[in-house]
Symmetry: C2
Subunit: 148 residues, 2 copies
């Protein structure tokens, strides 16, 4: 059901999440792929930027559209380690992104808890890619925080 390509790119998103972990950010990573090329990479940067809108996906969308010089991402795929929140799903809808692949589900803040209709009607969604790794890095982050 899942091909290796999705796992390959999700590992790239996990590398971004790891950078977030090392920077003491909630470790969520995202990449955007277009024609088998990674055109944007980002990790959550809300602490450094003191900006709650600086989620990995938002930064990746802005970076990707800057790279391709256009506003829309119909032929692109977002790989993100955690299910997008409502803000990021709303942003994804505006980009008309072709596909979203995410790892871990977000039981509290995931967009699918409100409505899957938030996304653009043509956006395909695949979830659960490398789910264990994607969940583990977040659990490790919060477990470490609780020790202090």
């Amino acid at each position: 059901m899942f091909d290796n390509t999705d796992e390959y790119y999700m590992r790239e998103a996990l590398k971004e999440a790891k950078k977030g972990f090392d920077a003491d950010e909630i470790p969520v990573g995202a990449i955007i792929v277009c024609n088998d090329t990674i055109i944007a990479r980002a990790y959550n940067n809300t602490e450094k930027l003191k900006d709650v809108t600086a989620h990995a996906e938002m930064l990746a969308f802005t970076s990707a559209t800057s790279t391709i010089g256009g506003k829309y991402l119909q032929n692109c795929t977002l790989y993100v380690t955690l299910e997008p929140c409502i803000m990021c799903a709303g942003a994804a809808a505006w980009t008309q992104i072709g596909r979203i692949v995410y790892g871990a589900s977000d039981q509290k803040k995931g967009f699918s808890k409100i409505s899957t209709n938030i996304l653009h009607p043509k956006t395909k969604v695949t979830k659960g890619i490398l789910v264990d790794e994607c969940e583990t890095i977040i659990k490790q982050f919060f477990n470490q925080k609780r020790k202090y």
Copy 2:
């Protein structure tokens, strides 16, 4: 029911929308007020930045948190000429903004069409301030576009 303060600040948001109009952007303006001081002003900038996430509200949130040096806007009010979309409402939730005041409703893309639960539970909402002016500027923009 509506006091003059809301009208005063909505006129400031309309000034931003007018700047957007003059810059050939969909004319939506936003300001953020904290302790009777305007701490952020922005208008929709999606065309210039080629970035569909560059809505007036998103730019205003980032500017406001940068100004106050913190991530949260509990004591602030967002004045925006058009009802926020889902992305912007989701962002507003992350900021925990105290109050949102908007002018025109957005029948197609407004967050309230999906769910009013998108906002933070403590965020108060007032709508319909200077609704005629807020609707008119957008209608003028699209009427002008149709002529070409």
